[in-house]
Amino acid sequence: MIAAVAQVQPGQPLQLPHVDWVTIGPAGIFFVGGLAMLLAGVFLRRRVPRGLWSGTTVVIAVLALWPAFHLWHQIASGGARTAIADAVVVDGFSIFIDVVIISAVVMAALLTDGYLRRENLEGTEFYVLMLFSASGGMLMASANDLIVVFLGLEILSIALYTLAGFQQRREGSQEAAIKYFVLGAFSSAFFLYGIALVYGSTGSTNLGVIADFLRTNSLTNGLLLGGFALLIVGLGFKVAAVPFHMWTPDVYQGSPTPATAFMAAVAKAAGFAALLRLFVSTFNTYRLDWQPIVWALAVLSLLVGSVLAVVQTDVKRMLAYSSIAHAGYVLVGFQTASNRGVAGALFYLFAYAFMIVGSFAVVTLVSGRGDTDASLDAFRGLSSRRPALAFVFTIFLLAQTGVPLTSGFLAKFYVISAAVEAHSYALAIIAMIAAVIAAFFYLRLIVVMYMAAPAAEGEEAAPTARIPIAVGAGMSLTIAVGFTLVVGFLPASVFDFARHATLLKL
């Protein structure tokens, strides 16, 4: 399109692209829905029925499934394609990520309702920010141009910075927002520099044109490799891969817990979507150059995430380090650069979204008013105070460990089997070792919940206050645990979905 503008004389009409709105339907519905909610919230300030905003967000999210469904059928019959002047791609991969993000939004919105009421933060802003952030994530997943990836990344990130600092009274929240903002701004700058270097070496920002160029030319200078490195830095920050993970524990711990649940699922899904599309699809011809980097990132994330989580005493920080380890597993699937690897990574992201939102939902309920206490002691004896909550949390923790009959086991299995099939035996072994190390802190938390030792001399007794469980949080937990168990027993349909969610052949 830029070439078209350069050649046109003043006064002559431009060759304008045909805008197929359905192709950006899910992101568009989220965006328009967010705007509508923003205005509704500010014009309906008198008593609104309980759960109205939460319900509206869920309705908007489910509504976005309709264009996603329609596009899936279009792809099944007509094949994947690009749209809107080749800026946006319509393939199974982007629909899959849209579904992951929609699920995470539904669960997070249900969870947020009781939380906002408890913390006196009522209003639509939290939901609106979640919707805008999710729409950016979906745009990132369906981007066919580096600039559109950047656009999606910024929309996703900026709304998340605000969400992280939403609970202004608590200092931890302000700290989380500042850290996330500063580090996120830097990583976006790295990403942009990466785009510039890739553009400089290939002559275009369109992924299709880049892939064509790389197939037909062989590059001798290191400009493209520099671009790879910087793109990995920028997106690695977003998915909390190891050397770029420093922000994760502080931001996850400080943010309001429903915001943590949302960002843990959605930012990771969107970040990995961009990584997978850029490297496995566009830069496939240079995979021998980027695979070792991703191998190193995967090993570091797995080991550092698992080992550092062992020494945490705050459950939110522990879950933050464990999600760094989960990013490591997805990186294992990414490293293989095969269709099995991508399908495994997608399945892992889907299963992980439910597990992590469920886990943080439990933490939201247990941490009490003020969202301050999420230490291991707060969970002591949870089985006697709220047996259902303890049971549900046990399922999530076992799923994250990778115990069979949960979706977590199958997620790890698919990812590691893809690695074995691609002959990355060392990576598979390290992934399994990390799973064993991680089992320690997941099982420790289960033990703390079920077998609280009587308080020793001078120690505080286990908390006994009744934990109120809001209706929305209950629904969110039910959805999460239901998915985790059902997919643990019957994974075939979801894995078929992941296998058919292929990237567009560029």
């Binding site: 006064g11 705007l35 923003l38 205005l39």
Partner: protein, 121 residues
């Protein structure tokens, strides 16, 4: 040195001259002037009379809100200028596109208005 880099020689000389000029002006002043420090020379200036109260004052938060809104709408204007230059080539498509952009920002302004942020008091 290649022709490409030679063009930047002017920039380098210009930058160097600027730094040199500032260094000279400040440096020569420092060398030539007498130094006789006296406590009263370091008081805050308040029109020649003795200063009353502390040197720091607090600004009202309303100034921050207005500055923030100004920056947002200024950036919006920056996007509108190039669009306006090429509007004839983009016809109705361009008009609708920019209208959507302005409407979204106007909705943000409406939100700010209803939140009471535009009150001057």
């Amino acid at each position: 040195m290649s022709e490409f880099l030679r063009q930047y020689l002017t920039v380098a000389i210009f930058g160097g001259a600027a730094i040199l000029m500032v260094a000279l002006m400040l440096g020569v002043g420092r060398l030539v002037r007498p130094t006789r420090p006296q406590g009263q020379k370091y008081l805050n200036y308040e029109c020649g009379v003795d200063p009353v109260g502390s040197g720091w004052s607090q600004s009202h938060v309303r100034y921050y809100i207005f500055a923030l809104l100004f920056v947002m709408f200024d950036v919006e204007a920056v996007f509108i200028f190039p669009w306006a230059v090429r509007l004839d080539a983009m016809a109705v498509f361009g008009l609708v596109e920019m209208t959507i952009f302005i409407v979204v920002l106007a909705l943000g302004l409406l939100y700010a208005w209803r939140k009471g942020v535009l009150r001057w008091i």
